[in-house]
């Protein structure tokens, strides 16, 4: 122990004696360990840690999937759940839920909140108890009772301990609060749910969640579900076997979409860590080379090789520990930054924290760093033969043997190679993002403000729902700065609204087996929708005053659908047959251009449009076209005010410009791009430091050689070229190997790239050139320094 303290004391002295080395090494490791710990924490918290439910691994989403097309069924309503839960299934328990919106009324102010309307056993099945009060139960079904979130309790009721005895107003109705859920409780992966309300009636599909019988995997559950699948077809009135039950763990369902991106970023950050460690190992190499004489003296006075190694590992552990602790601070800051950057776009973000696992991960990274940075150079330098030579050459500077140089050059080549891979990946993502941003949406996104209105369940507009929507549109249209207004059941470029595929048929349609019917997405719209968005009308007309509720059923289809059904015929005047509940036969009155409805990455899909007068929903998105110089904030405020004036419990939410929505549709790609670019930038910086380090060390090690060369006639330019060339060789080798590696690793990016080939020649040519250029700059300064060495001084350099 005493020796350990001696080593630590000497280690501190070494750190103080070489402040530049210590600063660079600690900074590099802080960056490497910090970002790696942050990304590991993110992956662990989002992907790996069990969800905070009792026996979370048993919780599964139950969906019906079309055996032929793989499409999910939208026919899972409450009655369906009630029937299948009576069957012998691999599930212990079944529950259901759907999203809704309520407004919390406090005086004249109505604040919209997202509510999860669920079966009475939903909360108890998840097993997380409220911090105050209780779950709802069967007896609460027909009472006006809710459970609220911790956030709502604090924000709206100032954490009132008597909340259970208070009556709150939701959608202007009185409700009892049964309980308050814990801070950050989330049953869906996101924390936007503020109210849970029990229901047993709903006239729309629900999500089904169940608890598998203990010990069953999803695969085993699937195998045990064959019998009930037959009954499912019966329940749904199918003659053939169309549907199969699919079980997806809740964890997989919540985080599945984020998996690829997070693992990609984790791989990238591990690469950055590797570069950081190699970099510090390289710097340590230079340090050790300067200390060979000291090592030799230590050996000559009795230090064993093991003893020497222990001292060097202790020294490395010191600066790795300091770097690691700084890295932990950086990780905490990075996680805050990621939280802000991701907003609500990443599930389980509220669960991310620098917990015990994160600290253990950081300690593991510190240990790896300490061992690597000490042992790689020590293995090469601290061997008896070399130290004996050092003793013989006492008083002369060791120039570093060829093997040491090879190891160091290999490390620099590795750093450059890894940096090339990261930069190529970032380059491909940048090109992909530019392609996405340049995509034509199919409509004009300029000067449009959007918002969404949900009508509460207890609100029955008079004389009917479509009149309410038309009235709201008309009222907003009459406001200043407004040019046109339209409404749609689903917002283009947004994830809000009602969007589902509907079976269709037409005269002469081929007979297809059940379950393989063609489908198209339905949108309910008001007149002027296409002209407002400047979607081209390719044939016929858009909806207008003629398309009344009781008039002939009409439909507008998009070009994709028209060409799918009648590739060589005129669609106008033909009949599109929709399900009976949607009105059956509809006459096609218009064909419009395709739009990228679900975002810039989306491909056009078959779509049909129904007039709001003939088919509408309780939720509609409003699109308001304004003058180009209109103040967006004023328009948003006007839209909100108008909606509240029309119906206090139906305030307009999600107010955004169409331009922001469009850009937001590729925000996921942008976030990955930003994070990966940061990593690639750090990799480039670290690799440059590595190259600078090796060339600087080369100048130091070869000062006397430089003097000799100058003494026998080498011109300064030749010396510079010689240094630059020698130091650039590992850069060039690394760049070439990196390009080859990028060919291999680029395959993993295939699914996230848009309009860019994995082997994009511009990226693959530009990145290594940039890196070699940066490498040459990094060698230039030491090379210039070399030519400023006074030959006489160099010749007497020791």
């Amino acid at each position: 122990m005493e020796r350990l303290f001696e080593d630590i004391r000497f280690g501190f002295r070494s750190l103080r004696a070489n402040p530049t080395f210590s600063f660079i090494a600690i900074l590099t490791l802080a960056m490497g360990i910090g970002v790696t710990t942050a990304m590991f924490t993110l992956v662990n918290s989002v992907l790996l840690k069990p969800l905070p439910f009792v026996d979370a691994h048993e919780l599964v989403y139950v969906t019906l999937e079309n055996k032929k097309t793989g499409e999910l069924s939208g026919r899972t309503d409450i009655s369906f759940v009630e029937r299948i839960e009576k069957l012998d299934s691999p599930l212990q328990e079944l529950a259901y839920y759907a999203y809704n919106q309520v407004t919390l009324g406090k005086g004249d102010i109505q604040t919209p909140y997202t509510v999860l309307i669920t079966s009475q056993n939903f909360l108890s099945m998840h097993g997380v108890k409220p911090i105050i009060g209780r779950w709802y139960e069967a007896k609460d079904l027909n009472t006006q009772s809710v459970v609220i979130s911790y956030n709502m309790w604090q924000k709206e009721f100032a954490g009132d301990p008597n909340i259970l005895s208070r009556v709150i107003k939701l959608d202007n109705r009185d409700y009892n609060v049964l309980g308050v859920m814990p801070l950050n409780y989330s049953s869906t992966g996101f924390t936007s749910i503020e109210v849970w309300k029990p229901i047993n009636k709903l006239d729309r599909p629900v999500q089904i969640v169940g608890r598998l019988k203990t010990g069953l995997s999803t695969e085993q559950a699937k195998q045990q579900s064959m019998a009930i699948e037959r009954i499912v077809d019966e329940i749904l009135g199918e003659k053939d076997s169309v549907w199969e039950i699919k079980y997806t763990t809740v964890l997989e369902s919540i985080v599945g979409n984020s998996k690829q991106s997070l693992y990609l970023l984790l791989a990238a950050v591990l690469a950055v860590f590797l570069i950081a460690v190699l970099n510090v190992a390289n710097l340590t190499f230079a340090q050790y080379t300067n200390r060979v004489q000291e090592f030799a003296v230590r050996v000559s006075v009795g230090a064993s090789r093991g003893r020497l190694l222990r001292q060097l590992i202790t020294e490395s552990a010191l600066f790795c520990l300091i770097g690691g602790l700084a890295g932990l601070l950086l990780a905490a800051w990075s996680l805050e930054w990621i939280r802000e950057l991701m907003g609500s776009r990443l599930p389980r973000l509220h669960e991310i924290s620098l917990d015990q696992t994160a600290v253990l991960a950081a300690l593991a990274l510190i240990s790896i760093s300490a061992l690597t940075t000490a042992l790689i150079p020590a293995y090469s330098l601290v061997n008896p033969n070399k130290l004996t030579d050092a003793i013989k050459q006492a008083g002369q500077k060791m120039t570093g043997d060829k093997n040491s140089q090879k190891v160091r050059r290999f490390m620099v080549s590795s750093e450059v190679g890894i940096a090339v891979v990261l930069l190529v990946c970032a380059g491909l993502l940048i090109r992909s993002y530019i392609n996405l941003a340049d995509q034509d949406t199919g409509f004009n996104t300029q000067n449009i403000v959007t918002g969404h209105v949900w009508l509460p369940d207890n609100f029955k507009p008079q004389p009917n729902r479509h009149s309410y929507w038309l009235d709201l549109v008309e009222t907003i249209k009459n406001q200043p700065e407004v040019i046109a207004v339209a409404a749609s059941s689903t917002m283009p470029m947004g994830m809000t609204g009602i969007d589902y595929p509907v079976n269709y048929s037409y005269q002469g349609a081929p007979v297809v087996p059940r379950g393989e019917e063609p489908t198209a997405s339905v949108r309910s719209i008001t007149a002027d929708y296409f002209s407002l968005l400047e979607v081209p009308i390719l044939a016929g007309r858009e909806f207008d005053y003629r398309d009344t509720a009781n008039g002939p059923k009409v439909v507008v289809i998009n070009d994709y659908l028209a060409k799918t059904i009648w590739p060589n015929e005129v669609a106008i005047g033909k009949t599109l047959t929709l399900p009976k509940w949607m009105g059956g036969d509809h006459r096609i009155v218009g064909v419009v251009g395709n739009v990228k409805h679900r975002g810039l990455r989306a491909v056009p899909l078959p779509e049909f449009f129904l007039p709001v007068t003939q088919h509408n929903y309780p939720g509609m998105s409003l699109l308001v076209k304004t003058n180009s110089n209109a103040n967006v904030a004023t328009i948003k405020s006007m839209m909100l005010k108008t909606s509240i004036e029309k119906q206090a419990t139906a305030p307009m939410i999600l107010l955004e410009t169409m331009q922001d929505l469009t850009e937001g549709s590729i925000v996921g790609e942008r976030l990955i791009l930003i994070v990966l670019s940061v990593f690639a930038g750090v990799a480039l910086l670290l690799a440059s430091i590595g190259v600078y380090g090796i060339s600087d060390n080369m100048v130091s090690q070869r000062t006397s050689e430089i003097g000799i060369r100058m003494a026998i006639g080498a011109r300064p330019a030749l010396i510079r070229r010689w240094i630059v060339w020698n130091a650039s060789k590992p850069v060039i080798i690394g760049a070439v190997v990196g390009v080859l590696m990028a060919f291999i690793f680029g395959q993993f990016l295939a699914s996230v790239l848009y309009g860019v080939k994995i082997f994009d020649p511009i990226t693959f040519a530009a990145v290594p050139l940039v890196l070699v250029f940066v490498g040459i700059i990094a060698t230039w300064l030491p090379a210039r320094r070399a030519t400023r060495i006074h030959p006489q001084q160099a010749l007497h350099y020791e």
Binding site: R709, M710, A711, I712, P716, L718, H790, L795
Partner: protein, 239 residues
Amino acid sequence: MTTSHPIISLQNVGKIFRTDEIETHALSEIQFDIKEGEFISIAGPSGCGKSTLLSILGLLDVPTVGSYRINGESTEDLDLDQRALLRCKSIGFVFQAFNLIGDLSVFENVELPLTYRNDLSREARKRKVETALEKVGMAHRQRHFRGQLSGGQQQRVAVARALVCEPTLLLADEPTGNLDSKNGEAVIQLLNELNEQGTTICMVTHDTRYADLADRVIQLFDGKMVDEQIPMHPMAANQ
């Protein structure tokens, strides 16, 4: 073997080193010529300015005052590249510590100055290197590396490297300083032979045995020339 034609001419050369607070006069009022084919020694105690003078002679440093001419041409206005070229073509260096480059073979070490000239083919360089190595009796070791040679052998290779460009002047800075007496004498013998073959030599040494072998000895003390003498050559005396 001397002629009356001076190839090196120093006029009132001085060298001052300045730091923030101190001004050190390393050399002052140095004035002498070296004639073609001459062998001169610069002698004096440690710190007297011998190495500084050799650096100026070798164009590794510039005098603070005075003029330095090689073959009648002034060196004051030469830039770094011109000095390097002139050094490469006209001056050969032999150092006390041999200063062979460890990564290069004997052949490559000797070839190095020729590679800086850009005016010789590979074949021409090879011939010159072999000739230089033969002159110093090291032709048979041309594939060896520094670590495989004794001190005496290393210094022979260093002499070959200094000679390979057929310089006007060979500068030797304590060439025997790192050698035992046997090898030291052998190197001095080699320098004598080269001088007899026409090479002009300027040698810095503090060993009077070797200094007195020169045609002329310049004594330095505290940066000044305190004496210039023509020693009684032992071999000449015997004759």
